[in-house]
Symmetry: C2
Amino acid sequence: MFLKHIDLIKGLYYSKTASLNDLSIYTGRSIPYVTKGIADLMKLDIVKEVGIRASSGGRKPATYSLIADTGFIISVAMNQFLTRIVIVNMNNEFVGEVQEFELKLGDNKDAIHSLIACIKAVVVNSGLAQDKFLAIGITMPGFIDAFLGNNLSFLKVPDETLVTYIAKHAGLPVFIENDSTAIALAEQKFGLPIARNNSMIINLGWGVGLGMIINKEIFKGHSGFAGEFSHLPLHKNGKLCSCGKQGCLETEASLLAIEAKAAEGLKQGQVSSLLKYDTVSADNIIDEALKGDAFAIKIIAEAAYFIGQGLAILLHLMNPESIILSGKGSVIGKLWLSPIQQAMNEHCIPHLTTYTQLAVSNLGNNAQLLGGVTTVIENLYKLNPQANISEPT
Amino acid sequence: MFLKHIDLIKGLYYSKTASLNDLSIYTGRSIPYVTKGIADLMKLDIVKEVGIRASSGGRKPATYSLIADTGFIISVAMNQFLTRIVIVNMNNEFVGEVQEFELKLGDNKDAIHSLIACIKAVVVNSGLAQDKFLAIGITMPGFIDAFLGNNLSFLKVPDETLVTYIAKHAGLPVFIENDSTAIALAEQKFGLPIARNNSMIINLGWGVGLGMIINKEIFKGHSGFAGEFSHLPLHKNGKLCSCGKQGCLETEASLLAIEAKAAEGLKQGQVSSLLKYDTVSADNIIDEALKGDAFAIKIIAEAAYFIGQGLAILLHLMNPESIILSGKGSVIGKLWLSPIQQAMNEHCIPHLTTYTQLAVSNLGNNAQLLGGVTTVIENLYKLNPQANISEPT
DNA sequence: AAAACTTTTTATTTTTTTTAAAAAGTATGA
DNA sequence: TCATACTTTTTAAAAAAAATAAAAAGTTTT
């Protein structure tokens, strides 16, 4: 019964506050239908009226919101080295601080148990009753089968799916999604308006991920592998990539490639404030670049130029409304922006670039966490089979 | 009233013969709704019952078809040098022969009037009454604004759109579409089943066109320029392309590039049956390659390899169900197939190629003509504003 | 050859949308 | 300033479409 009229709940969640008319447009259903649905949800104390909104002429509409503490979602954003967890309420507000846990994904047999322990700790420390939590949304790198709930690259468990395993131990429903896909979802729902319809979302991180929004929907391809931007065969540098091929974009443009280039440059006697570190990490390079170190800026710009070259190809094929730079690397967005734009201009048919906007995300480092929440919201209809739902087609 | 229940007419047109159940699935509407609609159309003598179909167990369904001579569509397929026109009935059968007219598109002020004269001649020679024709579907190269009905590259007319101009002179409604997009439409509706949902349709011709089918729909991008496969910046050969950039795929892989390479090779003393021609045309090369000439086969294979390299990129990004080789060049499909497959295997992450089928179209040289018909069928709802229609969303 | 199972068609009920009307505002101008 | 014209939102009544149930017409199994 909590899950009656999922589409209305989704609409309210993403817009925070909406009128009956807004919801009718969002859901594509008639005003009377929406009116009845909201009345039901108000009786159930899931939705409340929050006041009257200004109008451009005409009767002022009543507006509605979800009641914040009806339910909570746990979002778990993992990368190769760090796992971040936060609790989010029904108004999409973080409840308490984002908790960070060092957790190595690769080559770590204990990763799955560490992860479960982290989640349990967050639940217990929150002081909230277990039945107040709706579900857990986990976002992480790797080839992910979101439908079955498995990650083909990391956190393998025997005899059952990753999702059922974690759900069993945490006592809550679990949904997983690829990190780049999750970031694209977050950008679509909470990011810039130009990211809503046809947008390419770049996840600048240890690799270069891509999430595609085509005709207002995430596009994953026929078998779920679309958006392999990182492994576009663009270079003839002979460098071996983790995928087994040579010359992938990743070998020149990822944070890993940047680390390698920095080490090489310093060995060859480059003057740089990076010399003060024993071993140079990507975070060091980012820090020093932000402080203005010329060498750090130069190698970041180089990588950005290669990303721009890849984006030129994307532009020719997809003609998107926008390209959004998001993910971990978006914090240095301004450093990437101009070399990327430069490369795009050089390698594109002129009028293509004029129709596509290149922008840095406004979600900062929270995109992946918001993507985990979005993953749960999008799967809400799976939580209660008796719910009054129209499954997505 | 002829145009009542457009969606049912479309379903019958594309499937030729269908049961009520088939149509219910095709239109996404309920059986009672479809039942009533078909009854209406039968009263109007647009649809007839054509018999009972076998069943795998259970009552045998009645099947229905459009009545072939209720209406006719004129399909006009243009390329740079040749215009082909055919009349098609409501059972998607060609009425009479395909008529060919030499008509240069580029640098020809008189092209528009020649085109209108050709269309008029076909109408008159058919002996059919003018009011039996539904519309004209014109497919041609260039940047086409199908919504406004203009071609930004060819056949410009002052003060009005191309579509209204031709419609005025021919006395029939006109719809235009880009040739590669039209071919993609034809492959989706009449081609191999694997081309229906997520497919990349390559138009091998004077350029290398691409039509994308994503989630069962033609995808044209945010401003209609998606699918610029021909101008992917993949080569560092310094060759200037018609688009103004250097190193586009087209400079190595189009029929024009093949012509140039053949001339160059012959000048350098290559032994080949091509030597018997004064000037070597693409058609000559295709002919001799089909007859087994080693040199002709070699330069075609070279171009094919470059196309395969481009397709590898497409595969990484789109992960389609299939790639279909169509258009003029598909008649030598088998010659392209293996070098293209080879290049794809070399440049793709292994498991990507295993999920995508590469195939040659089964529509031969008719794809573009069928695409013109499809363009009309898809725009049928625009013909009669009073019709009982639900416009596509 | 009857029973069990499928698939299609018809009839009935329920749901949802469409249309129309009413309510609640804003802007305008005599 | 206050009636008039115009908007937008909300409520009510009518019409359309879908979902459900039942019947009809077959096929397959035992």
